[in-house]
Subunit: 340 residues, 2 copies
């Protein structure tokens, strides 16, 4: 990361699992960080843990404006619009990012308020079926994908205009934030991000719910026999349904597309079972697809403990050369970027 | 377990993940155990590990006949019929059980050969996406459900006839085997077992395959962003497709019923997404179902490390009183049995 970025304090708005774990990592790295949470219980728990947390949004935003902190929006989707209004009023010169699970809906809220020149959306691909301050921990983002959206730069490139300096500075800060918590920073446009997470996050939750119901409908003997494949296949069905519902409500078309694909695959398997007495096509296609996933995603640990990422690296210098084209290239590969 | 059961040697026919891990547990408990495997590589690996393994089926079966061992059939479904023919010829007086994932298809093979009076089907609900001797380990069955089928006894009860003494002795031996490897023994009729595993084992595999394909269809960015929910939701898509196909081929009607339920749930969620812009019904139903599963299945570890099973206990004395009715009662509850 650059010295500039270390010097930018981070102000986290919403201290649930994602925002709270981010606060822990930054504090552990001795980076300046403070935050706000609506509920007093969470702010008190954070304060009791030695963190700089408050329930006074106006005061926190004024402080952020004072030291030009990077604002990290970490509240549920339904609360984002109201929070942006407060930011517009009390912290008009701060860069803004967010850690919410959908990106188009947030970008639209930002754009509607004319705040796009200082907003760089993000989404750390980490979490669990748990939520709230009690679930926060350090290291949650280690090795995770940290998506950083570059729609504003892409728009400028297509329109033949300049990327605002405030946006490029925020972009650098957001990339540095992801690096600081040892994530791998992956650029994506908001719509492409939303299509991707419909398939690898929202769908797994809907399938887990469906599997949980199919198992439960079998009665006590069925649940009693459930072992590893059912446990792992339903793990995220323990996630708060309100959260999953909110993802789907803010990502309808991509989720419908993914659900339709799953229904088509299962219907074909059903037809093959009834007609041919086998499920060869889905078994073979799924096994092959799983092999490609394992080859492409995440990291593997070599003998000796060295971690090796499967993601290709693209080096990018924000503001220089065809840097926006390089971001597009990285997105196509699912690659991670290094800033120089 | 009883002294009788400890005195019965175990002869395992097929030393893959399931049979091989069973051999390891029995050897560790100093119980007499030996086995056969078709491939020389596996038998040699087992022998090199200090186990009593051979590729000479006739010799192994004659030895089993000599010491009245309990035979454990652990070969893939397609090889079961041929193996039963060999057992009929060379080990006509041994009790027989199996560890194959479907129970009706095996029972039919056994019944067709008139071997039902000494056969007690079983299915340990343990395993992983790995297979073969290299994947075997001790402790695989610790706390797992070990299904023991009692169709022969149920038939006798319904027909008003006596349960053959050879069957009851085999039943005792099979229950003792499950206990010896620290499993929880759960009685079930073959058809009820098959309906249950369609929902909690075969469906999770088909859904994992479908999810793997949906993710892969999203391209490199999608796979690059995959995190915990996709990893766990697709874990068993790494299982050998031939194995999963074999399960489905030998359990068609129950699998089709479960697939139809999943399709109906996903179709309803799709309609709600398109019509109402939300996925509230499935999210809520899945979350509630998952809670019931967690309350009913498996064990939880108390403070201090004590394991507490969620499964109710039914005490059964084979051959005495309404013991078959007690087995039916245990099946209804998904309960485990203790023999006295």
């Amino acid at each position: 990361m650059t010295n500039d970025s270390l010097a930018t304090p981070t102000c986290i708005l919403g201290l649930g699992l994602i925002g709270g774990s981010l606060m822990r990592d930054l504090a552990e790295a001795s980076a300046p960080v403070y935050g706000w949470n609506r509920s007093a219980a969470t702010a008190e728990a954070a304060t009791a843990g030695g963190f700089d947390a408050s329930t006074d949004l106006t005061a926190v935003l004024r402080r952020a404006q004072e030291d030009r902190a990077l604002l990290v929006v970490g509240v549920p989707m339904f609360a984002v619009g109201g929070l942006l209004d407060q930011i517009a009023e009390h912290a008009p010169d701060c860069g803004i990012t967010d850690v919410v699970s959908v990106k188009r809906a947030i970008l639209d809220e930002v754009t509607a308020r004319g705040m796009g020149d200082r907003y760089v959306g993000a989404h750390p691909m980490a979490g669990s079926e748990e939520s709230g301050w009690d679930a926060t921990r350090t290291g949650l983002y280690d090795g995770a994908a940290w998506v950083v959206c570059f729609d504003r730069a892409d728009d400028a490139r297509r329109g033949g205009t300049e990327v605002p300096e405030s946006w490029t500075r925020t972009f650098r800060d957001v990339v540095a934030l992801g690096k600081l918590v040892r994530s791998e920073v992956i650029p994506a446009l908001a719509d492409d991000h939303d299509r991707a997470v419909a398939r690898i996050s929202h769908m797994p939750h809907l399938l887990a719910y469906a599997l949980a119901v199919v198992g439960d409908d079998g009665g006590p003997l069925t649940l009693s026999l459930a072992a590893g494949s059912f446990r792992d296949g339903t793990r995220v069905a323990g996630a708060e349904p309100d959260m999953v519902r909110s993802w789907c409500e803010n990502n309808v078309a991509p989720v419908v597309e993914a659900v339709d694909e799953a229904i088509a695959l299962l219907s074909a398997a059903r037809d093959e079972l009834v007609g041919e007495g086998t499920a060869a096509a889905l078994s073979e296609a799924g096994f092959q697809a799983h092999g490609r996933y394992r080859a492409r995603s995440g990291t593997r640990v070599l003998d000796g403990g060295v971690k090796l990422s499967h993601r290709p690296v693209i080096r990018v210098s924000p503001g220089a050369g065809d840097w926006i084209g390089e971001l597009e290239h990285a997105q196509e590969l699912g690659g991670r970027i290094e800033i120089f």
